[in-house]
Symmetry: none
Subunit: 175 residues, 4 copies
Amino acid sequence: MLDAAVAVFSRRGFHLASMDDIAEVAGVSKPMIYAYLGSKEELFIACIRREGQRLMKVITAAVPAGLTRDERLYRGLLAFFEFVTAHRDGWIVLYRQARVHGSFAGEIAAARERVIVMVAALLARSSGDDGHARAMPIAHAVVGAAEALSDWALAHPEETPDALTTRLVALLRSG
Amino acid sequence: MLDAAVAVFSRRGFHLASMDDIAEVAGVSKPMIYAYLGSKEELFIACIRREGQRLMKVITAAVPAGLTRDERLYRGLLAFFEFVTAHRDGWIVLYRQARVHGSFAGEIAAARERVIVMVAALLARSSGDDGHARAMPIAHAVVGAAEALSDWALAHPEETPDALTTRLVALLRSG
Amino acid sequence: MLDAAVAVFSRRGFHLASMDDIAEVAGVSKPMIYAYLGSKEELFIACIRREGQRLMKVITAAVPAGLTRDERLYRGLLAFFEFVTAHRDGWIVLYRQARVHGSFAGEIAAARERVIVMVAALLARSSGDDGHARAMPIAHAVVGAAEALSDWALAHPEETPDALTTRLVALLRSG
Amino acid sequence: MLDAAVAVFSRRGFHLASMDDIAEVAGVSKPMIYAYLGSKEELFIACIRREGQRLMKVITAAVPAGLTRDERLYRGLLAFFEFVTAHRDGWIVLYRQARVHGSFAGEIAAARERVIVMVAALLARSSGDDGHARAMPIAHAVVGAAEALSDWALAHPEETPDALTTRLVALLRSG
DNA sequence: TATGAATGAGCCTTCATTCAT
DNA sequence: GATGAATGAAGGCTCATTCAT
């Protein structure tokens, strides 16, 4: 049911996606959706939350402790691009649809911030709070670059996650 | 009148923005908007077009010929950050809202792509078509990084466009 | 100006005819129409009234006293069909458009009744009130037949008024 | 629901009839009408179609084969007058409203023409295509006469369909 | 006097949301 | 528990009508 919602939201956008569409794709009746997931907004937030958690889990798993900073950055980006490639719909909901509507700003900001904080931790040279604070704007930039590159990759399906990672790492090597 | 439309579209998004809202903010009656700007879609396109042209003009003016590549990149990014800082609404319409709605694909592709193409031209080492094509994904990444940095700067008003530019250039210098 | 109104009403119907259209065809500005002819309803009524009077005048002139009943009937019908053929627009307003809208029922009924009374007078054998009263339903039928034949003729422009008259007279000869 | 639509269309005309009116008369909410009958145009067409079929069925049933031409004409007209008397609204929609709106030309041509074609078939002496074509204008005239007589009868409630039929047949007997 | 410019009001249509079954 | 059926509310768009110039 959430899968259906993600698929429809991704394809049509929040407003053009009607509850009828989602119910039909899910193969259940509309009142079921209301019973289990609540209103349309709540449904959309549930989508954001699930996709965000999936993304976090994938990245977290990809960057175990005990690696060099560059290695962790490479693997983290690779995991990110792999997720985007494998979960087109989820990514589109997260990146394109969700950011449009002020109502979901909180939810999406939270999901995004989690990723950025993790990247900032990767980037910080010194491990203190100060180093982390200085790394935050850079982390924002890196995540923004990765997102934009993913967005570009939507129109270039032949790009592999590896290639994307290589491109971005090359751009950032001196950072 | 277009200003009102940009403000409302930026704040509420295309679908949640009602023509009544826009008319009220503009201080005119709805039929006036239809008389001068046409349907809601046409109005949205007019917004995209104007903001896109403004942004292009600002950046173009900032990167005269006869400068080194680094100098041009620096000045271009600075102009970009200045525009985003000064025209928050216009930028949001251009970057966030416009991407969601497939109907406007043509207009948006034209408006947004122009900026990215220009950045790609700045970045391309070799000046042939091939170099340009290879620079495109990088240009997307750079613009994405700049946008994310702008977003972050919204929560840090003490950051000047100069500082933002310096940060990003430092990150990218080796690209 | 009335000519323009009749033309537009005839072509588009009362509701689809906009005051803008009429003003444009008339070559004047909208407020002029309001100044001279009043509201849209009043304008339509003015059209009905003028076309109705024209029709009456034409028929009246065609049936002078001193002819046989059959002769008068023939000439009256001929005049009617000639009017319809020559003033397509006026006739359409009168017959097709005006009868649709309850608001104009009074005006159109009055115009129509005048013609019918005249036909009843033609048909009445005895000249007293009684003969006239008995002729009324027949007059209605005759006028209805003539109208329907005219309506049919709109789609058959090759039909001359003479031919139409001949057809109808043949149908009614024994009446 | 269709009954309500026919009633409102008959009384107010296509354009003045609002979907709100129809919904209220029908005792349902507007979306129901859209769910079952579609748009306003489709609703109007549905009305035309149903009333046309009803009229055709009544007349067809009244003129079985194996009767003389005069007998069939008499019975056909009688059935027609009975229908008009009993289904005033339906007849008005069919005859008056439907002719105004070009958009419905196809549907109307189909519905109204069927009746006239049937009358033409009754009237045609020779049964070939040629005889039929020649009978068409006469059929229009006859139907027009019948309609006008019906109109007149509305103001004379004491007139029975029988009496009306007798009057018209007398007028036409020599046709 | 003549008009460009402006608007109030209304209509068709859709959709998130909820009962009665 | 699941759904078919129903609706309140709102939005895009148009047009008859009127001032200020």
